[in-house]
């Protein structure tokens, strides 16, 4: 029975980490849009390439934030949560 419980904990942590990373879709689309628009802008006005590039990089990095939140949660679920949860279970069982 204990093995089953530990198995459920490990499996659910892995599933949760995978599902958390669905959030990676958003930043991907957003950054793609940003870069596409930046390319258009540079094509129209090649002389302001420098400022467009820096603004785009900054916007990309900010758009990445939501993806990074998901990544942090996924990393916590894979590397930190199983140990903690199994410890809690062991204390509970005694």
């Amino acid at each position: 029975m204990l093995e089953l419980a530990i198995g459920i904990i490990l499996g659910c942590c892995a599933l949760g980490a995978g599902m958390a990373m669905i959030a990676g879709i958003g930043p991907g689309i957003g950054e793609g849009n940003a870069v596409a628009k930046a390319c258009e802008a540079i094509g129209r006005q090649p002389e302001c390439k420098g400022s467009v590039t820096t603004t785009m990089l900054m916007g990309c990095a900010i758009a990445e934030t939501t993806g990074l939140y998901a990544l942090v949660i996924a990393i916590l679920l894979i590397f930190v949560a199983p140990n903690t949860l199994v410890n809690i279970l062991m204390n509970f069982v005694g």
Partner: protein
Amino acid sequence: MKNKSFRFKAVDVLYLLMTILPFAFGMVLKVMTTPVSEGIAISGARIFFSLKMPLQNLVITESQINSWLVMVSIFGLCLYFTHGLSPSQPSKRQLIAEWVVEKVDGIIKENMGEYFAGFAPFIAAILGLSAFSSLSSLTGLYPPTSDINVTAGWAILVFILITYYKFKAGPLQYMKSFGDPVPFLAPLNIISEVATPVSMAFRHYGNVLSGAVISVLIATALQGLSSMLLGWLPGLLGDIPFLQIGLPAILSLYFDVFSGLLQAYIFAMLTMLYVAGGFPQDEYEKRKAKKQNKI
């Protein structure tokens, strides 16, 4: 300029050693304290020792030690670049130092305005500390910025600055800024106020940490692959992970160098934008004029 005195050169060497030695010390410390059996593993900062404190034990971790080493290193670099300044015959290093200072001053003036001209040293310090902390992972050290406590500390500092400059136009104006555009939205404004330092801390920490995690995963995968492909070689030759040589460096170029520098730039840029954006210029001038009229 050619015939520098012996003393000048000796001091130069001392400063350069001050720049390089902290990293060597950190590497030695890491080699000495890493357990042999650990191998490749993803773990947080190691705790060296903990001090007894009234509320909670104060733990001294790898990230604290490493950030002090980085600070000493930057200090040495600054001393080296500003050693032997002369107004008439600028040396090469003086020109570099002047270029850096002028560049930072220009960025501050462009993004924050004249009122915040004194902010240049603070922004340059954040930029340098963040960039050097992220780049220190190139020497194999644990990068302090991949610990949330370090970046959260910086973000809280920035939050205090933002609030201080919002208070410049008086507490009443500060309270009023939460009821903008309608008082009904005040809770949302408070949440977004708190979200600023949280998102700044998590952005920087997440970027550096994700780079570290992906590097470790790739290194482990390459080790397995090379033992699978080249394991048939006789003797010790089979144990050497040939595929691990050089290939992870290409990834490190992106994750450590590009990503680290970009995040340092973004952290400094956001600090500037938030502090300058939170400062109510018009109200501050009105208040100042009112005070002067009273006197």
